[in-house]
Amino acid sequence: MAEEDQFEPVIVGFFCNWCTAAAADLAGTSRMQYPPNVRPIRVMCSGSVDPVYVLRALLGGADGVIIGGCPPGDCHYVSGNYRARRRMAILKTILATLGLEEERVWVRWISAAEGAKFSRTMNELTQAIKKLGPNPMKRDWSI
């Protein structure tokens, strides 16, 4: 068996209450199958995801992190996702500049109607993280 197959990544998902969390429910009621590697955390808005949460997850050993919010313009709180976008852009730049695998952090806009996009994204994300392999931070005791 290839290592990829044995490795079951743990991915932390921050999903906004109004869109992506609803899409997760919709994927559920529509029974669209996707891999069980994502641990969803419901937040009120993607704009409430502090980069420190993402870092906490990564440094704690999450193999991937996904932030899911309403499509641009649709945020229940008007501009939360636009703000989130800047935050995450900076976070990803920091990680990339320091060679810390920013590709483990995904941002996706998934509306309440997009159950299919939700499950597709979970599939793609899990595949991509499996390809990347385990997050080295998980093993490092000195972090």
Partner: protein, 373 residues
């Protein structure tokens, strides 16, 4: 605001000329007090002090090539509770002024009633290097400047200064110009604002300028930019990737000296000192169990990465974090490397001007389409 005047350099050298100019501000009642570095009696360091008696100007030495702390923080300390009621002059290096602008945007300082006097900065030494340097020379400021005038690279300068592309202050009312001047003869006093212009008028100085200045500045900036790129290359080699980064940060003891020295880290209480980071014993043991061992204190990497998240967009590159680190971690190098990228992404130059909005307080609908699909 292009008006400028020439200040003659006499026997007291450049320092004498600067002191004389500062004194004249009192004589003409243009200020009531002045925040300026004073030489310590021991002579091996300077500290910013509020001078209210012009007599004390004898000890003023804004030219000493040393910066024990970033005075922007001191301006913040003085003005945060209430703006100054009296007219306070403040002498600042370019990076101090830039930090001050950021602090004003963050509501940590007020420029009301301040007369901002910037001074060209050829660079500074670390405190210990400065301590050794003063042993060897008669007048540290003047000797340093004559060395500088010869135009040789000074390897003693702090790394942050060697790569600093802002040797000339911006946004101050007045600039004391050294670059491009024949320091044996004269220095320049330039107005940066209408207030500055008025002061030049009131001091009765004759207007005049020098042509060589622009070119000298450009040359210096380009040399430093070149060095900066070389440094970035080095940092990328030494500190990129988890392993190397961890090695670079290996000696971090979580003392938070870097954030204390940082002119921008303004938090009353650092997030990392807050109860959020007080965990139950069971948690620590659980983490240890998972990894086989747990480095104590925990969360050092998280601290540095989070400080980057919070502050790198405003980092002015003064380098005092590195100075403050007891274990020689090149914090500033990392901040500069990351800051360079992040700031460019948002076309934001910290300290450039008061009207540029802090990137994290706004957004544009049409941007960053690569983040999130």
């Amino acid at each position: 605001m292009s008006s400028s005047a020439i200040l003659p350099v006499g026997d007291g050298g450049v320092l004498g000329a600067v002191r004389a100019f500062l004194g004249s501000l009192w004589q003409k009642k243009l200020i009531d007090a002045l925040l300026v570095p004073l030489e310590l009696p021991s002579g091996d360091n300077v500290v910013p002090a509020i001078v209210s008696d012009p007599e004390k100007l004898k000890m003023a030495n804004p030219l000493a090539p040393v910066m024990p702390l970033n005075s922007a923080r001191q301006v913040s300390a003085i003005t945060i509770a209430s703006p100054s009621a009296e007219r306070l002059g403040v002498v600042l290096r370019p990076c101090e002024m830039r930090a001050l602008i950021e602090l004003v945007k963050l509501k940590q300082a007020s420029l009301e009633n301040l007369l901002l006097i910037g001074i060209d900065c050829p660079g500074t030494y670390s405190i210990s290097d400065y301590g050794r340097f003063v042993q060897k020379v008669k007048s540290p400021a003047n000797d340093f400047l004559s060395k500088f005038q010869e135009g040789k690279e000074d390897p003693l300068l702090r790394k942050a200064c060697q790569i600093c592309e802002y040797p000339v202050p911006a946004n101050t009312d007045l600039v004391i110009g050294l670059l491009g001047m024949d320091l044996n003869n004269s220095i320049l006093l330039e107005a940066g604002t209408a207030a500055g212009e008025r002061i030049i008028g009131e001091l009765g100085l004759e207007k005049g300028g020098v042509r060589s200045r622009e070119a000298a500045i450009a040359k210096m900036v380009s040399q430093r930019a070149e060095r900066r790129e070389r440094l970035f290359e080095q940092v990328r080699k030494d500190a990129r990737g988890l392993e190397k980064l961890m090695a670079a940060l290996a000696t971090c003891i979580n003392c938070h000296n870097c954030k204390t020295a940082c002119p921008l880290c303004y938090c009353q209480e650092c997030f990392f000192d807050s109860p959020v980071f007080k965990f139950e014993a069971e948690k620590y043991l659980g983490w240890a169990q998972r990894r086989g061992a747990l480095r104590m204190p925990t969360d050092t990497l998280l601290f540095h990465l989070t400080r980057l998240n919070h502050m790198v967009i405003s980092c002015v590159g003064c380098g005092l974090c590195t100075e403050a680190c007891p274990n020689n971690i090149p914090v500033a190098d990392i901040f500069r490397l990351v800051g360079d990228k992040v700031q460019k992404d948002f076309e934001y130059v910290p300290g450039r001007n008061l009207d540029d909005e802090l990137p994290l307080t706004t957004f544009r609908e049409e941007e960053l389409h690569n983040i999130g699909i």
